[in-house]
Amino acid sequence: MRSASKPTRSRIQRALVAVALAPACAALAPASISTAAAAPSAGASRVARSHAAQPAHHGGGRGAPTTAGAVTTSQPATASTGTAVESGASSSTLARPRNAERHGTRGRSRSTTRSGRASSGGAASGSGSSGSASTVASGTRRTASRGREGGRHREGKRLSSVRSQGRRQRKASVASSTPAASPVPALVATHTTAVSTPATIASATPVAGSPAPVSRAHAKHRVRAAGAARPRASTGGAPAATVPASAPAPAPARTEPAATRRAAPARKRAASSSFSSSPIVRTFTRIVNVVPVPIRFVMGILLLLVLAAAARSRVTALRARRLEAQRQELLDDVGLLQAALLPLPPARLGPVGTSAAYRPADGPGAGGDFYDVFALPDGQLAVIVGDVAGHGRDALPHTALVRFTLHAYLEAGLSPRDAVQTAGAVLARQLGGLLATVIAAKYDPRERLLVYASAGHPPPIVIGESTIAPITVASSPPLGAGLRTGSRQTVVSVPGPSRICFYTDGVTESRVGADLYGSARLTGALADLEPGETARDLLDRVATATDSRPDDMAACVLSIEDGEGEPSVLVEELELDREEAAHERVERFLIECGVEPQGAASLLRSARTAAGPVGTVLLEVRPTDGSPEVALRSDNVALLHTRQARRHAGIGGRR
């Protein structure tokens, strides 16, 4: 399309160039003459254009009078039109006028736009090709239509129409319209771009003589419009720059000094003005200028404070997130540790329903209680419940120590009393002064017998058809007290449905008003448990019934079903050495078991004899309806017998 339209275009353009160039040659400057002279060669015309383009940018400074500015602004549009025709890069072409127009819309853009239109219109009319016209048209539609309009006119008519535009365009149009009669066009018109370029040069030159001064704003964006065309002009000019040797170099040379003289300061101004003319910057500058200096300082400080606060809040948020993560980790760890220390017992062991529960104290006492429920190889069931008096974290390692020690002894087949006794001897040093109360028990489901031994720990509650009243006289002291312990053991027969509850003193020592909750209330709560309810439910009931719980609570409940008959104590055992047998509490123990006081005194004498100087004697009291049976077993040789007896003798010496 473009190549086809080329001849037509060049013909029309030739005329147009004549129009544009003649006045430049005749009336204005030698530059135009030189351009005209250069015109015959296409290369020269390019050179001319390239040179012209350069001055156009430089010359289009602020101080440039209207004529120069107007024509200069027309440069990009024209140049782009020409280039588009050559390269076919219509899209890039479009950018130019748009660019020009965009810049032009700022401030007083009319002259710029119009001059652009004028030249493009000229180009379009010159070529008569709708293709090139539409190229421009997509950039500036109105311009294109005008261009087409212009194209329809003959030269004379165009003169007038251009003139009418030129009225608004000021000198530029005047410059282009004047030379209609000029004979030069034939020489120049080889290239469209060349046409307008010399015009530009021509118009750039006469600046000084220009009668129509233009406001700075006009000049400013004319510069911008010219700037938009700059890259293309330079690309066009670059290859040409080597050529001009044959062309009359003087022409551009003559133009250049005039342009460059103005160029340096103008460029600077252009640069600064293009920066300061940004509306945002301008508005901001205006606002800032209004604000008094002290307020500016205050604003600055406030801004800094806001930034500091924002940074701080960010840091705090990050830290909080990290702490939350750590807390979760710790809770998980604590959960694991607690699970390790307080295992969840199986819901059933053989025919016995088992459950255990632990409820930490409200206050600082948490951590001292422990329990264990497990099956033994011989089919029996073992229970350990205890309380290390130290409480808290310090007690934790000791609770584990005591629990596993007892567990091992029970597992090894020792009776509860022997297990406690041995543990008391073994753990005395390891507990490091802490007292640990503990109860160890075995339940034999076949015999329906419960055997338990305590070290300073409350006895279990056994309820069936009736409730057993345990004998607590002559209880064994806690582990860690440096005393011989594990001297007592009780055997209970559980023939009928029963519940056995082992608990720590935290349960009975929780408060109801000023009172202790006590074992009586606990017995009631245990009796009230529904079938299927567990130790957890029991502790929940205790918690509901009490006002404060200063200590840990642990409970273990065995539910024994079937059978019939009420539970009863079969045997109360008390192991004594010679010195212990002399203590009045042994006598009280016998009396408590139902032995006549006189019989008790004689029994004690026998016991002392049986024990011997370093040995022990076991008192077995079997309660009966009448007077209980009492057996003395001097052949009971406990583990660590001698060692314990010696140690105990040492302790006893101090008493």
């Binding site: 206050g363 600082p364 006492g365 309380d387 008096a389 130290g390 409480h391 002064g433 802490l434 007292l435 109360t437 070290a455 300073g456 409350p458 607590t472 006289v473 002559a474 209880s475 064994s476 002291p477 806690p478 007290a481 440096g482 005393l483 312990t485 007592r488 003193d505 020592e509 408060r511 000023a514 202790l516 404060s548 200063p550 200590d551 212990e580 203590h583 509490r585 101090r654 008493r655």
Partner: protein
């Protein structure tokens, strides 16, 4: 000489814990405990007795006549003091309340301590022991 060590209102507002130490003579001191000896108050008794041991008192009487409750922590304190007594030194407890005596019994510690029902008897025992020792 009267040393007032602590007077604190417990969480139970109607219960007032008070611990009073007094020297009977050069070698004998009496510590009277009023209120409840538990996890929170037992340490006071511990430090009181500890100070008296440090001061070189040989015979110690702990008067639990007005003590309404003892837990295992308090027992631990008494056991600790009992263990740290040197040769010829003595600890005598005064206690007549059945519930506190029951605690001693239950814990098996009634066989370890010398527990008497009245302060006079306690002093008599302590001094008698001191006289015997000297």
């Amino acid at each position: 000489m009267l040393k007032r060590v602590g007077n604190t209102n417990d969480s139970r507002s109607d219960e007032t814990f008070e611990i009073v130490g007094s020297d009977i003579d050069q070698t004998t001191s009496v510590v009277a405990v009023k209120g409840e000896l538990d996890l929170t108050t037992a340490p006071r008794l511990k430090w009181m007795l500890h100070d008296l041991l440090e001061a070189g008192r040989e015979n110690h009487v702990v008067d639990l006549t007005e003590t309404t409750f003892m837990d295992s922590t308090a027992l631990g304190v008494l056991v600790g003091v009992n263990r740290s007594l040197g040769e010829g030194m003595r600890l005598v407890l005064v206690c007549s309340r059945p519930n506190v005596l029951k605690i001693f019994e239950l814990s098996g510690m009634d066989g370890v301590f010398t527990i008497v029902p009245t302060l006079d008897e306690a002093l008599q025992r302590a001094r008698g022991q001191a006289a015997k020792a000297s």
